[in-house]
Amino acid sequence: MFQNIGEMVVLFWRTLMALPLTWRQRGKVFDQLFEIGNASLLMVCILSFFIGGVIALQTGPVLVERGLASAVGGVVGIAICKELSPVLMAVLIAGRIGSAMAAEIGSMRVYQEIDALRTMNISPIHYLVLPRLVAIATALPMLVIFSILVAWLGGALVCLSNDRIAISFASYFMNLNDVVAIKDVANGVFKSFVFALIIGVVSCQQGLITRGGPRGIGRSVTKAVVNSIVLIVILDYILTRVLLR
């Protein structure tokens, strides 16, 4: 485990050092951005809508019964932007994109493609890791902003249509506007940026250390997803503590 962490830190550091080369790799960054957006946008949309809906459904009736109908928009808004969207989108992206990254790099490793790059003096970090890390660190925060908006809308629709809540769009969004500050959204987006780096580094590192054949690739994919999710949850707690100050 400590060896893995050490390798991830070294990989992250080397990728940071390679950041000035991002412009040269822009074609690959755009390819990866398209891949991430194309693979995830619909799922993000569906997931976010129902997360917003279920949070409204869980909190709405309780608050309304206690005469706090005016707080529903704020509760849903805060829960979504500070916690649920960043964490759940990160988990979704770890499963969809992190696994794909680990599998692709892992199979390149197993089938000697990475060795071939090295013999041509092409750094796998510049060629493979940098574009993926830049793309995911750009795409996940953008997906989270989109997710927050869709989830808020999902919450509003549930509040409007559920008889036990029955809050209009206007009062829901007015309350949300009163409670949620730009800083809250920024906190969530910042969290998602950190989670994106975690997913990128963990997945690429697992891909690069893949050994053996198809079984090795499968093992790397599983480890990439599981390790990413564990680190996301741990970091979520740490970041929340830091950002609450």
């Binding site: 390149m108 089938y111 060795d115 071939a116 090295r118 041509m120």
Partner: protein
Amino acid sequence: MNTASRTNGGVGLKVKGLCKSFASLEVLRDINLEVKPGEIFVLMGPSGSGKSVLLRHLVGLEVPDAGEILLDGQAIQGEGVLSGYRLAMVFQSGGLLNSLSVGENIGLYLSEHRLKSPEEIERIVAEKLDVVGLRGTENKMPSELSGGMRKRAAIARALVIEPQLILYDEPTSELDPLSSVVVAEEIVRLNDRIGVTSLVVSHDRQLAFGIADRIAVIHEGQIVTVGAAKEVEQSTDPLVKEFLSAGYKRATT
């Protein structure tokens, strides 16, 4: 890439006291060999004898536990030495990037290092594909090629580097006899044309005795004999004799 080393012809290679172990398994044991500039040197040996591991050391893909590898007298472990020479390796599987077309694979070295304009790269790719008899396959994906075509595409990719030393890892494995002959001819033609030093790792006896200037036989991580093809053929070493004469005949009743 060091421009000082951009000379025509091959580079000399010397391996001194090379040892490598993976955990408790000793894979290479005190390997000593010398490949002269411009020669075709074949390293033969049974599967698992350490041939491919030795090859991986020569291009810096593995770090030896002991010993050194010298290119024209310079240890490759030295800062910038390895990148100062134009080395190419043709992998057993070809090592073509499956996500790129054949043309992109062949031009990868030039495009990634920004050595030529896209038009020039296109011209060079077409020229190298022509050399290996794969004209018109630029836009195909590696998965659309046969095993032999993939090996030849890998050779074309190696040619783009204008190598001084080219390493072939089992170039005829998984190939039918006709494709094997094409690949063998290609190795010899390349050697004649640009004087590149070629180190071929193989257990294909026909290939080895057909193309080699000199042959070494490796067994359990140790070189057991080195010499001209004729000398190795006449070797009295029991391991060499056993390896070279191994054959299968169905028992008759």
